[in-house]
């Protein structure tokens, strides 16, 4: 019996190559998209859950009340960890890190050759760190590796890149010496597996915290500064945890200065929530993604699967007309309805299983594409055996919904009518069910299309919107030695294609985390009145270089070791209610010292466009002036080669790296771009699947009504009349879908746009274009089938007996 089913199923698939392909294609696209999205969501939700102590561990976060706002910090003062450890016994383990930071290293290999390399994510961690967070040790003693004062633990990728390609001699690397910044010696005490992608604990190298403390005595004993320190606590007892935060908050006055004690509150954040909580921001190199976004992505995944399943149902039931004779014969020959249900469920399931296998292939390709595309966020998605559950769940869902309904329809045909290709009136309910499925499909299609149009407009704003400074054809390199800046600059000017060179702490907009923070207040006012500001180091030609506009006062005069002049943006003077003219000459105190305002610059976007423009103080200072900005007439390999050569001749310390400003800015919108690409892809998918479904339904209808078309034609209906007759009800469906979809998409996109400070306003044409696009595609699809039916010779269609 089974072989007979397989035989029939196979021959049917072969016979209807076209519809089989459409069927498999539509469903496998839907399934792959669904799997990819769910894997992504699953991946994002697993962040830091793999640590055994994940549910007992909390990050200490800090809420700082400023006069104008509350700041949420994911970092805390360095001495906090030791104090907690000594004073609060309820806490089982306290661990602290500094970083991640970018650092340079040097070591001598066997042949005595000196090798220099840069490590992007150096984390200084204390000896408790590996006790709290899961780390897989490949060599060295986990308990002691970070307890040694100058101990350094390398990740596998570092070892493979700079020490040894093979993995069998890790132990020989232990005990080797490397030099931080080519001077401070460190001893390799351990080798560990690379940090997985789904962790907020980003590190490519761990160095003992005691080393950091020794070399940074001031910050590591300073209770008022938030540097790059993070404190984690672990407590097994949940009940203790509830009272712990308040206990810490009453205890902190023992160490904090009174003014700090007043404005600082500590809170405990479960580590498993770090990744999905945007309030505290992400650490360097990391990113956060709101839970809401993930849920929406999950719903979208199910929507796509839903429309693909609906499509499959529509196409299979449409084809069942052609199978009615078979049903009739089988019934006459003694098949029970259950036998037929088995047969068709089996047949559809076979098709679905083939489809799922194809989908898995597509999924792997898609995942690779996605990983490559999102290397910025170090996405490491892969299809693994762990995910078999997701795949099976999708498979069962698909089979239950897509295989059983058409089978029931088919098996319910009455034998005599089936043999005569007559269908009772009762089947009309089947039609209206399918019509409502189509309605649902088109609601989803319009949601995606309109959303994609709106997101594309917002992306347009991100990439082409006015940011208040020029960003084209600018190359950024590091400038590690202050004393050699002029040499570098003069050497660069030798090339005609280089038109301008400026120095500073970073470009006008904070990219790659190039932003310095400080507090400012009017000189002579108490510390409590201090407000948060960005501090930007800028050389004398910085304003000209970026086309920043002075609206009052004058530019920075000349290069000096220490700073004595401030240029502020409009945000700063707004805080005091000054006019630009009034601001000139006012004395301001920042954490780093005091100076007078000599100029006011027009607001420019110092943060990427998701965020508001914040107060910004520009000053010319020797410290932090460690980036060079190079403007060229033409970016090409020769210029880049020349810049590299010049750099290497000018500086002896550091490692040459460069990036393009516009690209760096574009990277700030990686998540938004992901959303945009997602919507574009999904709306194209949805349109394809939706049109396939419509096509299936139309062929079902035209097949049922061939006779009617024939009669109409004999009675003199023109092709156009016939086509409109059959297409118009589906055009109605598309219109109803639009009416339902428009408010949903308006509401959803409105809340998305609200999350940006600078956003486009939605206009009716965005909706109208989306609706029209879908309508036109629907009309084309409908016409295709009805023209085919109308062109058929009426003699044939009327001769059905």
């Amino acid at each position: 019996m089974l072989t007979n089913y397989i035989k029939i199923a196979w021959r049917n698939l072969i016979k209807n190559k076209m519809s089989t392909t459409i069927n498999i294609l539509g469903l496998s696209i839907g399934i792959s998209a669904c799997i990819v999205i769910l894997l992504f969501v699953n991946y994002e939700l697993t962040f830091d859950k793999y640590h055994i102590k994940s549910d007992q561990t909390y990050r200490v976060v800090q809420h700082t009340k400023m006069p104008d706002q509350t700041l949420y910090w994911n970092t805390t003062a360095y001495p906090l960890a030791q104090a907690l450890r000594e004073d609060i016994p309820e806490i089982d383990i306290v661990t602290q890190i500094a970083g991640p930071m970018r650092r340079h290293f040097e070591y001598k290999n066997e042949t005595g050759k000196s090798i220099k390399f840069e490590v992007p994510y150096v984390v200084f961690a204390d000896a408790h760190y590996s006790n709290v967070f899961n780390i897989q040790w490949l060599a060295g003693n986990p308990d002691e590796a970070l307890a040694v004062e100058n101990g350094v633990v390398l990740t596998k990728s570092l070892v493979e890149k700079h020490f040894s390609k093979t993995s069998n001699n890790y132990d020989t690397i232990l005990g080797k010496t490397l030099f931080l910044n080519s001077k401070d010696p460190l001893t390799v005490t351990g080798i560990i597996e690379n940090a997985p992608g789904n962790t907020t604990q980003k590190y490519t190298m761990l160095i003992a915290y005691s080393f950091f403390k020794k070399h940074n005595p001031y910050p590591s004993e300073n209770w008022s500064g938030n540097y790059q320190g993070t404190t984690f606590i672990t407590t097994k007892n949940k009940e203790i945890k509830t009272g712990l935060a308040s206990k810490i908050n009453t205890w902190k006055k023992k160490y904090l200065k009174p003014e700090d004690d007043k404005r600082i509150t500590y809170a405990l954040q479960p580590v498993s929530e770090i990744h999905t909580e945007t309030l505290y921001g992400s650490s360097p190199g990391g990113y956060t993604i709101p839970l809401k976004t993930l849920y929406i992505a999950g719903v979208i995944a199910l929507f796509i699967l839903g429309i693909a399943i609906i499509n499959f149902i529509n196409l299979v039931t449409a084809q069942s007309i052609a199978r009615s004779k078979e049903v009739g014969i089988r019934k006459v020959l003694g098949s029970r309805p259950l036998d037929l249900i088995y047969q068709f469920v089996f047949e559809n399931s076979l098709l679905i299983i083939i489809t799922i296998l194809i989908s898995l292939g597509i999924t792997m390709v898609l995942l690779q594409l996605l990983n490559d595309k999102l290397s910025v966020i170090d996405l490491q998605l892969a299809l693994q055996w762990d995910h078999i559950g997701i795949v099976i769940a999708i498979g069962i869902l698909t089979i239950v919904s897509a295989a059983i309904y058409p089978a029931l329809i088919l098996a319910s045909f009455k034998p005599i009518q089936a043999l005569k290709n007559q269908f009772s009136i009762k089947n009309r309910t089947g039609l209206s069910l399918r019509k409502s499925l189509i309605l649902f499909q088109f609601i989803v299609v319009q949601l995606f299309v309109v959303a994609a149009i709106i997101v594309s407009q917002q992306m347009q704003l991100f990439s082409n919107g006015d940011v208040g400074f020029s960003k084209e054809a600018i190359i950024i390199t590091e400038a590690p030695e202050f004393s050699k800046l002029d040499i570098y600059k003069e050497a660069l000017y030798q090339d005609a294609s280089i038109t301008d060179v400026a120095f500073g702490s970073g470009p006008p907009m904070a990219v790659n985390g190039l932003q310095l923070g400080t507090n400012y207040r009017l000189s002579g006012t108490p510390v409590e009145t201090a407000m948060e500001s960005e501090m930007k180091i800028a050389g004398p030609n910085y304003l000209d270089f970026y086309g920043l506009e002075l609206i009052a006062g004058r530019n920075i005069s000349e290069n000096k070791e220490a700073f004595d002049e401030f240029i502020v943006n409009e945000k700063v003077i707004q805080a005091y209610g000054w006019t630009p003219q009034e601001a000139i000459g006012k004395k301001i105190t920042i954490n780093e010292g005091e100076a007078s305002i000599i100029g006011v610059v027009k607001n420019f976007h110092n943060n990427s466009l998701q965020h508001e423009i914040t107060p910004c103080i520009l000053m010319n200072w020797a410290y932090f002036k460690n980036n060079a900005f190079i403007k060229t007439t033409d970016i090409n390999a020769t210029t880049l080669g020349l810049i590299e050569d010049t750099w290497k001749q000018s500086f002896t310390r550091g490692i040459y790296r460069y990036h393009f400003l516009d690209e760096a800015i574009a990277r700030e919108y990686a998540i938004e771009r992901l959303i945009f690409n997602g919507f574009t892809t999904f709306s194209i998918l949805a349109i394809c699947i939706g049109c396939l479904g419509l096509m299936g339904l139309m062929s079902f209808i035209t097949a049922r009504r061939t006779k009617e078309i024939g009669i109409r034609k004999v009675l003199g209906a023109t092709l156009f009349q016939n086509v409109t007759f059959f297409s118009k009800e589906f055009i109605g469906v598309v219109l109803i879908a639009f009416i339902i979809a428009a408010p949903i998409v308006y509401y959803a996109m409105n809340s998305w746009l609200e999350s940006f400070t600078y956003s486009i306003t939605m206009t009716p044409w965005m909706f109208i274009i989306g609706g029209l696009l879908t309508l036109v595609l629907a009309i084309i699809t409908c016409s295709f089938q009805s023209i085919k039916a109308s062109l058929a010779n009426p003699i044939k269609s009327l001769q059905t007996e």
Binding site: I8, R11, I329, R330, K331, V332, L333, G334, R336, L419
Partner: protein
């Protein structure tokens, strides 16, 4: 007695009016009979055959098949009954286009409990008997109408039914093919003792039967 119909009525209701398709049909059929149903189009021949074949229900009356009251049987039992005892032959053959001659003949056996070797033997036997061994791997569309009907009859006979119901079996065939098919029916009836009820328009075909029942507007009339 093979089957007995008494006072069978069947009707459809349209707009509150009953239109009778069968009206007070009384037939007794003994095993080994060859009955022809005659009458013009719309007289109820096909409907009556479908009722006898249990493919269609009736609204009133009593139908006993091998002493089983058909009207009281559940669908499942009805299917069991007809798949065991009744074979159908259709005017337009109703072969499955996607299956070969061999597979078409084998099909009824798949719905009954036969092992694959038994099926093989039975189908081989049938192919042999109808002289179509050479055509067993062809598909129906590759055969002439007469050959297709031959396959249809072979399929009806494969599960060794007591009764063959044939609805205008030669309606789509030319006169020579018709005659061959009717000869075959006659031979099956006489040599194998298969009971046959056929619906036909043709006096010539009817004459092969041992008894003719005339129908008009759903009633039995005297021929």
């Amino acid at each position: 007695m093979l089957l007995e119909l008494s006072e069978i009525f069947k009707w459809v209701t349209t707009g509150g009016n009953r239109t009778y398709l069968l009206k007070g049909i009384n037939i007794e059929v003994q095993e080994g009979e060859f009955i022809s149903l005659m009458g013009p189009s719309g007289s109820g021949k096909s409907t009556l055959l479908n009722v006898i074949g249990m493919l269609d229900h009736f609204d009133e009356g009593v139908y006993h098949f091998l002493d089983e009251p058909v009207q009281n049987l559940k669908e499942k039992h009805r299917i069991e009954l007809y798949k065991k005892y009744i074979g159908f032959v259709f005017q337009s053959y109703h072969l499955m286009d996607d299956l070969t001659v061999y597979e078409n003949i084998e099909m009824p056996l798949l719905y009954q409990k036969y092992s694959s070797s038994e099926r093989k033997a039975l189908v081989a036997d049938m192919l042999d008997r109808f002289n179509i061994v050479g055509k067993k791997n062809l598909f129906p569309t590759q055969l002439s109408g007469g050959q297709q009907q031959l396959v249809g009859i072979a399929r009806a006979l494969i599960s060794k039914p007591k009764l063959i119901l044939a609805d205008e079996p030669t309606g789509n065939l030319n006169s020579k093919q018709s005659e061959e098919i009717m000869q075959l029916f006659k031979k099956l009836n006489e040599e194998d003792g298969v009971t046959i009820i056929q619906a036909t328009h043709s006096e010539a075909n009817a004459s092969y039967g041992s008894r003719t029942i005339h129908l008009l507007d759903g009633r039995m009339v005297k021929g």
